[in-house]
Amino acid sequence: MPEYVLELRGISKLFPGVKALDGVDFQLRAGEIHALMGENGAGKSTLIKIITGVHQPDGGEIYLDGKKVLFKSPRDAGAAGVAAIYQHVTSYPHLSVTENIFMGHEKRKHGLIQWGAMHKEAQALIETLDADFKAIDLMGHLSVAQQQMVEIAKALSTNARIIIMDEPTAALTRNEANRLYEITDKLRDDGAAVIFISHRFEDMYRLASRVTVYRDSRYIWTRDIGDVTDGGLIHAMVGRELNELFPKPEIEAGEEVLRVEELSLSGVFKDISLTARRGEIVGVTGLVGAGRTEVMETLFGLTPPDSGKIHLNGRKVSIYSPSDAMKQGLGMLTEDRQHKGLILDWDIGRNITLPELSRFAKMGVVDENSERTIAKELAERVDTKAKTLFDLASSLSGGNQQKVAVARSLTSKLDVLIMDEPTKGVDVGAKAAIYEIMGELAKQGMAIIMVSSEMPEILGMCDRIYIMCEGRVTGELSRAEANGERILALAMKKAAQQAGQEVSQ
């Protein structure tokens, strides 16, 4: 018996414009839960996709039970006993839970699918997971947490010996997460090897026996859980001390520009009240699925609220669309810049000028020379890594794409700018640049609302912090009051019990 069930040696993977993995190693022992840690963009997801055969490596070798293997497709990997539970749930919304669980390995007799037997087995799997839905329910009707459970059931149903969990707890409540811990323990006791990816240190300490850290597409180290400390781990993940990252300028907050009162959207968020003043950087944090992005999208006019008031510059406003919002002085940088933020097929220059195009136009006709001059100026101010203004946005790395997105707001006349996960998937250098620009914008008198899951930047950059949990604001902390533990406690607080008193504070 070889020491490792799965071993990766010197794996590299290139994507257009990005080196996603640079000669990384990984070793998985039989019957262990192995935590894979790293910041967004460190290469974890790419590694998973290589292990599951979705991508093929450009260099390096994979050994399964000591034998060299090549997974040409997810089918190969599945046949070898590898199953993955993905971060972005990859399900079929129009099909039943049963079918989602058994897709690709249906129970058949004479070529015909045995629905009865499949429903029964699926129902049994769901029950072992203590989940509160039925096998015949449509996948599309389930909540994100329930869909996550289906993904787990799917992995269980294949009797896989190597199970990869890519941030499975991100969308789960405390109880659901505890249940998941038990299930994961049981899987290990039954002999499966588990690769566990999570941003929650809590998950890692609770489950893992060993930890591997990646940073910037490279392998850093692997240690037994006993040898891991918070500080050491953070240092390995981030690569330097944290506090030097945040160039937070001291700014005297001006008058209040945004006041939101008891904004509600049925089933999504409830009684959200918050304010922002000129020159302030306001943080909004909470676990994934707490409804932060949804609140911001409502403020930005994408989804109308059921009730509540929004005041901008002291005036009550109704915002029906993003173009409305921007006319009234409220802008938003989306979390999903690849799909919603930038037009990847376009060059950098046009991406920068798109929101403010009318400024370069006379009678609707665009003056392309002045457009280019300004775009160049802005692109240089945010230090975009590009040779010409005509490079396509798709050719830039995540960090530089975000710089381009940020560059748009530099000359705008916005009063409030919402930045949703502004440093997600951004490399360290670009992060510093983005923080610097945030400070700059605040100095100009803009109110900035930063939505973020990353504790360090929330603590490092924000004047005030709102914490959300399950669709409600569960707390508000000043910069002085805030620390990691308090935020985490509020973010995990059961909203139903405490909401009333917290919101009124």
Binding site: P74, Y92, L95, I136
Partner: protein, 328 residues
């Protein structure tokens, strides 16, 4: 069992069925001749190929594609076997049907190949082939039509005949419906068709060979258009160059009314059957009710628009309700 029953009563197909029943009752009240065996038989016979081809289109729409070349495929395959009959090459009705089927499969394969291998958008690829197949129909026929006297008597007899009181053409349609119903519901290929359309990315991750599935679906759709070609020629006892022009619109309309989503992944055989029957009834029944038959097209257009918009309203309501049920 009550869960199953409730599911059926709540389903889209059931409400569509109710609409169809109401429609029939209205027509019946204006013309007692409507719900008689003769009229029903005539409706089904006249639209057997539309109803048949709707299943093929369902599968194409399920994988997120579209094929507007089916009318031309029908004409080309029908013309091919008619010409071969005229020249005496084909000497049995069975062979005539098989030749049409073969031509249809070839046409479908070509469309599918251009879409999967050439990465051309389905609407464009099938638009091009709609021209090409229609043009080829004229080309091989020299612009002439093939008349009744040139067709095999056996072929005509089969196409216009009946067994057990049901027209042979309808038998073909019924058999195909049963086969496709089983395939879509109970075979791996059938479920993969839904999977590819429901979430292409997930299909890739679960190791489904999307291109092969798509190719199969287009070939199958072509095959049905091919059989319909022979049915069409036999039923009307002639092969015309401009046969079935615009038929693709009726077929897509039948699917859309039947609740098939153009985005893929959503749609059922019962729904499509009801949609196709609805189209057939609208097409045939206006003259029976004393309404100006020139209202027919406008009515059909209105029905499509109402069907798709109501569907959206119902979906929005369902989402709202399911969200409101969540506690926060």
């Amino acid at each position: 069992m009550s869960v199953g029953l409730r599911k059926i009563l709540r389903s889209r197909e059931f409400s569509l069925f109710l609409v169809l029943v109401v429609l029939c009752i209205v027509i019946q009240s204006r013309n007692p001749q409507f719900l008689t065996a003769t009229v029903i038989d005539s409706i089904l016979r006249n639209y057997s190929y539309t109803i048949l081809m709707a299943t093929g289109m369902l599968m194409v729409l399920l994988v997120g594609g579209i094929d507007i070349s089916v009318g031309s495929t029908l004409a080309l395959s029908g013309m091919t076997s008619a010409l071969l009959m005229r020249h005496g090459v084909i000497e049995s009705a069975f062979l005539a049907y098989m030749v049409s089927l073969g031509v249809g499969i070839l046409c479908g394969l070509m469309v599918g190949l251009v879409i999967t291998k050439g990465k051309v958008l389905p609407i464009i690829a099938s638009l091009g082939f709609m021209y090409v197949f229609r043009g080829m129909t004229f080309f091989i026929s020299g612009g002439q039509w093939v008349g009744m006297q040139h067709l095999l008597p056996e072929f005509r007899a089969f196409s216009q005949g009946a067994a057990l009181g049901i027209s042979n053409l309808l038998w073909i349609t019924i058999v195909v419906y049963i086969l496709v119903f089983i395939m879509l519901g109970w075979t791996r290929t059938g479920r993969q068709i839904y999977a590819v359309g429901s979430n292409p990315e997930a299909a890739m991750v679960s190791g489904i060979r999307s291109d092969n599935i798509k190719l199969f679906v287009y070939a199958f759709n072509g095959a049905l258009a091919g059989i319909s070609g022979a049915m069409f020629v036999g039923f009307y006892a002639s092969a015309q160059n401009n046969s079935a022009m615009g038929l693709e619109l009726d077929i897509i309309a039948a699917c859309v009314i039947g609740g098939v989503s153009l985005k893929g992944g959503q749609g059922t055989i019962p729904g499509v059957l009801l949609g196709a029957l609805m189209i057939a009834v609208i097409n045939r029944s206006l003259s029976l009710t004393g309404i100006d038959p020139f209202w027919q097209q406008a009515l059909k257009g209105a029905v499509i628009l109402i069907a798709v918009t109501t569907n959206i309203l119902v979906q929005r309501r369902a989402t709202r309700l399911s969200l409101a049920r969540r506690e926060i």
